[in-house]
Symmetry: D2
Subunit: 312 residues, 4 copies
């Protein structure tokens, strides 16, 4: 699904041209066979092999497959790489074939991304939680309590019982409570921002009964006032074209089908309560990948990413 979404974005990107879409399992088929909404906009066929004559290569393979792909294929040095898997996100896993993958959260690492020849695109939960916390990290003193509800597209097209409509419609459930695989990615990022951070993060991931979006709420104790915290966030994100900070409540559909991030910050007695909404397939995956491409190629960061919210 992230791959399909990436194709949708690149087809409308004024500075991008898709040279090829490689897929072993679908090789020879038209791209519109898998993504029928693109009929009339995409005449490409899936190719069985990748082609070296490109400026940037996006890799949308299953976790573990990206590293294998790089080891088995000799990507020319001049081809930049943006990988959407979790294979290179952690510091200790960030190198392969002489490349050093920069963690591709533009609101944190824009300067590194600009110079990078390889970017590890963050996870969807990680993006949401990190953006909701980074400007606060200097002030966090206690444990962080996170609750994040994700749409079904977060699970891709796997055919498991919990991905069936009859199961998931009007249903709610949790999974990987306190042990989601994004936790180490998140904790490493937060520690990078504040090396002395050593509180615990409790994260409850929830399967929501909708297709798109992540709705994250979190709280931790803080001595700053709500207004001070909002001001800190606004300063931090003042140059970001996608992040909006306010004190009102957010709701998920503000961001669905966009690359936007809405962050709401309120203070209640001792706790700062933060809500953050993103579209898991866009800011949480392919939109962020294109944002990284824009930065790597010195384009305006929001090129091709001014998307009409679905809103309703």
């Amino acid at each position: 699904m992230a791959a399909g979404e990436l194709i949708r974005l690149l087809l409308q990107h004024p500075q991008a041209h898709i040279q090829f879409v490689q897929s072993e399992s679908q090789a020879g088929k038209r791209v519109v066979y898998c993504h029928p909404d693109l009929e009339g906009e995409c005449n490409l066929k899936f190719t069985s092999s990748w082609q070296p004559d490109v400026d940037v290569l996006f890799i949308c393979k299953g976790h573990g497959q990206s590293r294998k792909f790089l080891e088995e294929n000799m990507i020319p040095k001049r081809v930049k790489i943006i990988d959407l898997s979790q294979d290179f996100r952690l510091k200790e896993t960030s190198t392969s074939q002489g490349r050093n993958f920069v963690y591709g959260l533009p609101e944190l690492n824009a300067n590194l991304i600009k110079e990078a020849d390889a970017v590890a695109n963050p996870g969807c939960f990680a993006t949401s939680i990190e953006l909701a916390l980074i400007p606060l990290m200097k002030s966090v003193e206690s444990n962080i309590h996170v609750h994040a509800i994700t749409g079904s597209t977060g699970a891709g097209q796997s055919l498991s019982v919990t991905s069936l409509f009859s199961w998931r419609d009007n249903n709610i459930s949790t999974y990987k409570v306190f042990e989601h695989q994004h936790l180490s990615e998140i904790e490493e990022t937060l520690r990078y921002v504040n090396p002395s951070f050593n509180s615990r993060m409790y994260m409850v991931p929830v399967r929501g009964n909708y297709a798109r979006g992540i709705f994250t709420t979190l709280y931790t104790s803080a001595s700053l006032s709500g207004q001070e915290i909002r001001d800190t966030y606004r300063r931090y994100y003042q140059d970001s074209p996608f992040v909006r900070v306010n004190g009102d409540q957010v709701y998920l559909k503000k961001v669905v089908n966009t690359n936007n991030v809405f962050i709401s910050i309120r203070k209640d007695v001792d706790m700062v309560f933060i809500e953050c909404v993103i579209d898991n397939l866009l800011k949480g995956a392919s939109g962020q990948a294109v944002q990284n491409m824009n930065i790597m190629f010195a384009l305006d960061e929001s090129t091709g990413l001014k998307l009409k919210p679905s809103a309703y």
Copy 2:
């Protein structure tokens, strides 16, 4: 899903006791492993073989598998059979191993069902369309235009793309337009009611983005007035504990989670317009199977079937 629903009904049926639940693929597992909502209400395990010491055997196998099961297993004559597949619904397929399957639409065939030792439970679309048309059949002179929207549980637990939540959520599509497999069952029933009926039925089946229920609309030309037609229907269904006839609009959630049937009849100039709603897993499958059981064993027809509508 029909099997699970049947177990739910029988567990609460005051005159029924489940002797065994046979399943080759799940043999040895607890029934609550597949139907976790039944925890605390069902201690049965799936058995690998069926047992002969029962009064009635419900068969919930895939289409084609029921006939095979009967051919390969010697069911004692005194054990009545209620089959939920389409294997024995048509006149020409209604016999097997010396049994003659009665078409189990109680509102049409109660007298035959009473005496039957084998019943073929009707299909869900067929139930809805037949109940919406039977009392009118003597007056139908022209083609019948049917549109029927079904919930995802109509497709069972098959793991196809169109059964994925990410695909079906907020989505609509048709399938088997003009050629749904229930059409021959329906036409045979209508011709049984009115042997001279030879109009064509155009049926558009639609996949709805909800789990339970069938919403059927149909129209045909008729010379009777709306009131005359409603009166005819009310007379026809006066002894049925489940069918309600009126002139107001119906909506799907009136019947969800019940064995009820709501039929709305209005006349517009030359056309009679009929709406019919049922729960596809209850009146369209397992509820009707229990209704047939009640009739076969001379119990009150609605025993164990007075179900609270979910309503919201």
Copy 3:
């Protein structure tokens, strides 16, 4: 909606007979005008006044209206009262007109309910959170972190923007974070169970995009093992016909359209993580009201409450 649901339950209750349904705004109209799914099952009309010749009076009025009703109407002493508002739930608000309202959580107060002539039916969130915590209260030493997602029927039929389908469909939002009106009810109950409890409860209420059900997750630190805690809960709830305790994950649709409560308990390092699901209109409102009635009249607690789960 709670009133409609109560009517649905009482119509099928083998020991109950609805004498009248009073409503000022709907007086004179048929009950099925407001609850069309009941057509054929209910011939009552709304009356403009209440009638004294009943055994029990259910009051389903807006918060604040119940107390006013009791003050303005002289209910005979022999008529028992079950009130569904929040007017009498707290100790300091529990008396009116010489009656002392017992807090109607049967799993906690069955002995008091048995003798009571007036019961204050708990709130829906309160029911869910209290049942998830009561057996643990002796061991709770730290703050409790609660996240609870509710269906739209929790908000009744108010015509606000957030209750519109176009707004709520595929949308998520929070409300009354850390300050939901049920918190004082919950804290009073928990302190009743363990008077020395003085930790704080952080509660994040969430509007879910479905109609029925409350999905509650909560955690707190505990020194007992997961198995010890589950054993404690099972002992506590061993006589309850509705509460099931296990270690597996729960999901919302296990309980939708039933009076059941599923509680899942797991231990993760230092935290006990508890999930609890109920149907907000049944165990969270009208089902519990009927359960209280059963207890008050010495009927089996589950009479009329063995409801088929909608499951799908």
Copy 4:
């Protein structure tokens, strides 16, 4: 909702600049107060009066209010008008204050729209049904049977029972069967294409349980083969940037959040069966309004309308 969607489109339109947004009821408030997803993208406030210094005026008022507005306000001749109500769609209602409103279906009337100073934007159902039929009109000999399912945004923000989430979630119902107000608009358009057309159209409008989109199916008898009909359609729509014609099934989410139209055509014995999907707020309202603006100002027809499908 159409107004909000129009603002979303115009904000991202490379050649458009919103001069003002007038609203009597919201005057003085920020536009983002009503459309919070636009925060950071729109600093406008609603004005109490309209301003004459614009090139084009979009009118998004309730039906009947547009005509009144034009009668009470003197719009300068040089200001073009695009009206989204039904006030000027029919030939006999198409003039006001010396202006002659062209029916704004670009795929039919592009040449007239180019020269027009006033355009009546078609209805959403009308757009869907007309586009599905126009190329066939020369060959239609019999009645046309139409079934069209609409999302909740088709009803705007009216606070009626059927627009409540608790009512509409997982629910289906019809309304205005055979008498929808768009029928006369549709029939006039079809007769404009083929003056000898005098068959009847039977239209069943359905309320779907989703927010966006219209899913239309229709059939009529035709002597041409499926391939001949598809070829006819493809020729007719060959210059349209938004309409795609094929023989495969369509599904609603192909077009949600786009201005696209997917038309599927198949032949079954005697009937041609056509499916057509649009987004009711875009091609069915505001997207088409912008498309008309593009044509009126000699811009590329798809300027600002290349929208990423939400797809999932």
